[in-house]
Amino acid sequence: MAVKQYIEAIHDALQEEMARDERVFVLGEDVGVRGGVFRVTAGLIEQFGEYRVLDFPLTESAIVGVAIGAAAAGMIPVAEIQFADFILPAVNQIISEAAKFRYRSNNDWNCPIVIRAPYGGGIHGALYHSQSMEALFTHVPGLKIVTPSTPEDAKGLLVSAIRDPDPVLFFEHKKLYRSIRGEVPEGEYSTPIGKAAVRREGDDITVITYGLGVHLALDAASHLEKEGISTHILDLRTLRPLDEQAILEAARKTGKVLIVHEDNKVCGVGAEVSAIIAEHALFDLDAPVRRLAGPEVPAMPFSPTLEKAYMLNTDKVAQEMRALAKF
């Protein structure tokens, strides 16, 4: 096992899949010569040339639309949207087209594309370089939504996404890129889409989360341990399809559930998780299902005090966890 940064793991998945299968190619703004504004694709153009690492004009709808067409003609495109915030011009191509290719053609066509996008805040990116976009797409049948929290998963899930015969949105939390390191298995492996992972076993309360939230919850849990509170943590990893069984097991384990995400609360992924629990595990609950999510404002501000007020952190998570434990 080698220890890698989250961002390295993503880079490696791309590099290895491109080497393995020549149908796989990367397209997006600044992905080529510049190696991506976050440098995820650094070095790939040197290895694979300017068509397989394609610097695309500043047109997100066409990035996705062209990827769909290339996939129709047998390619496996991995599109990069520079910031998740800028996926919005491509929503029509994603929801009207990619998500419906298979269904509307009665299984005749399919759409094996991956759309990677860095999301999330805490990097002074202000309103438009900080947003979480996952809830919008989690609602949409036909799409798969992946939000890895560790380097191992980032690589393994990206490999699965590339090999998946249906469209996968792959959201990478920017704050994890270089702050999180972890062991990554040597050699080829993949992590299945649709399976959550228990990150910590515990008996008093359950935290269900994904992405950055996993790390905040783990941090908070080790604080709470000292206070005698034992926390069970479930990392959803895939938001669509949700791993219902794992969610219900985790909820039943402690009977007290806190759902944590940075995306805002209303109609967010936490709403669905809570509703699943309210539908199938209601009588196993010892406390109301709580949600800790980004505030109901359009996006996080640039102002450092406001950004801080917006962002989740270990303290905020710990506080909610304590309140839940005490319930």
């Binding site: 066409a62 390619m75 298979r102 509307r104």
Partner: protein
């Protein structure tokens, strides 16, 4: 006399130009049948090719269905017939029956698709298919294959952002794609003059660094000539062409429309006199490839096919409600069965 050999000069055999006419007549016959079925309350929706058969025939014959991809739009009935669909397949679609090869009856009629025929599955939101064709053309270029991609759309649709973004990308990389605008003068009720301020949609090509050509879309041979050149250019690495075929929609926008609110009957009657089917028939009569008798026989053959297709499609079983949830994603079992 010179005119008599127009199709020969263009490289079309006698049989080919007759086939062209056949597909136009067949498309019209299928289309007219759908209106009848709709008015009789048997199918809920029709969207027509009437008036645009000539443009589509000219385009379709310039393509190679054995390798070229097409991303047609909802009026391209004649084109998909040339690409191998039949009266039966389209009537199955009109009745929303699962045997329909386009979508298993899942989509409205006119929403074409067929993987084995390289007809990329289309949808209703206009213009989304344009980048798809460009993506297919990108694949051709990346793999060094010599197929081209073809995409068609209305003049109203040429205003959508997707047209602009896709054409721009195709221009930069000189991709083998033909943008075929079927300008039928209206986008539902909104006339060309309220849709765009340039004289021709084709004028837009200059903004993408490739050629734009205007062609009389009521003249299938002329469309063929222009399209043939565009296809050859694309196949030989010369990049995209925007072909604008000037046509006219002879019927309402769809079975839900009433076009009397936005255009005069005189205008429509005038346009009917230039109908491409009338014009090609005259050409074939002039060059001696057709007689009134042969024409009647050909039309009867079309009608027979359509009658048979209608009977079949109407009787074909409806989709099993249990299939509603099939094929949202790849299904293991089904997957291996294909």
């Amino acid at each position: 006399m010179a005119d008599k050999v127009r199709h020969i000069e263009l490289g079309l055999t006698d049989q080919q130009v007759l086939d062209m006419y056949w597909y136009m007549v067949l498309a019209r016959t299928v289309d007219e049948r759908m209106w009848l079925l709709n008015r009789a309350g048997k199918i809920p929706f029709v969207i027509s090719c009437q008036g645009q058969e000539g443009a589509q025939a000219g385009a379709g014959f310039a393509l190679d269905p054995s390798k070229d991809y097409i991303a047609p739009y909802y009026r391209d009935l004649c084109l998909v017939l040339i690409y191998g669909h039949t009266a039966k397949s389209e009537l199955l679609s009109a009745f929303g029956k699962p045997e329909d090869p386009n979508s298993g009856g899942r989509q409205m009629p006119g929403h074409f698709g067929d993987r084995k025929r390289r007809i990329i599955t289309g949808s209703s939101p206009v213009g989304t298919q344009i980048p798809h064709a460009v993506g297919a053309a990108l694949a051709a270029k990346m793999r060094g294959e010599d197929f081209v991609a073809y995409v068609s759309f209305g003049e109203g649709t040429s205003n959508q952002g997707d047209f602009h973004e896709a054409a721009n990308f195709a221009g930069i990389h000189k991709l083998p794609v033909i943008f075929f605008c079927e300008n039928n003068r209206y986008a539902i009720s909104v006339p060309e003059s309220k849709q765009l301020a340039c004289k021709n949609v084709a004028d837009r090509a200059a903004g993408y660094g490739f050629e734009g050509v205007v062609v009389d879309g009521m003249d299938p041979l002329e469309v063929y000539r222009v399209m043939k050149a565009a296809v050859e250019k694309a196949r030989n690495g010369g990049g995209p062409t925007l072909v604008e075929a000037k046509t006219y929609r002879l019927v309402p926008h769809s079975s839900d429309d009433d076009d009397r609110s936005y255009r005069t009957r005189e205008e429509v009657e005038e346009a009917k006199r230039g109908d491409s089917i009338v014009r090609l028939k005259q050409y074939l009569l002039d060059v001696g490839l057709l007689t009134e008798e042969k024409d009647a026989a050909l039309r009867k053959k079309a009608l027979d096919e359509v009658n048979e297709a209608t009977a079949y499609a109407e009787k074909a079983p409806h989709a099993d409600p249990a299939t509603l949830t099939h094929y949202v994603y790849a299904e293991e079992a089904v997957h291996h069965g294909r």
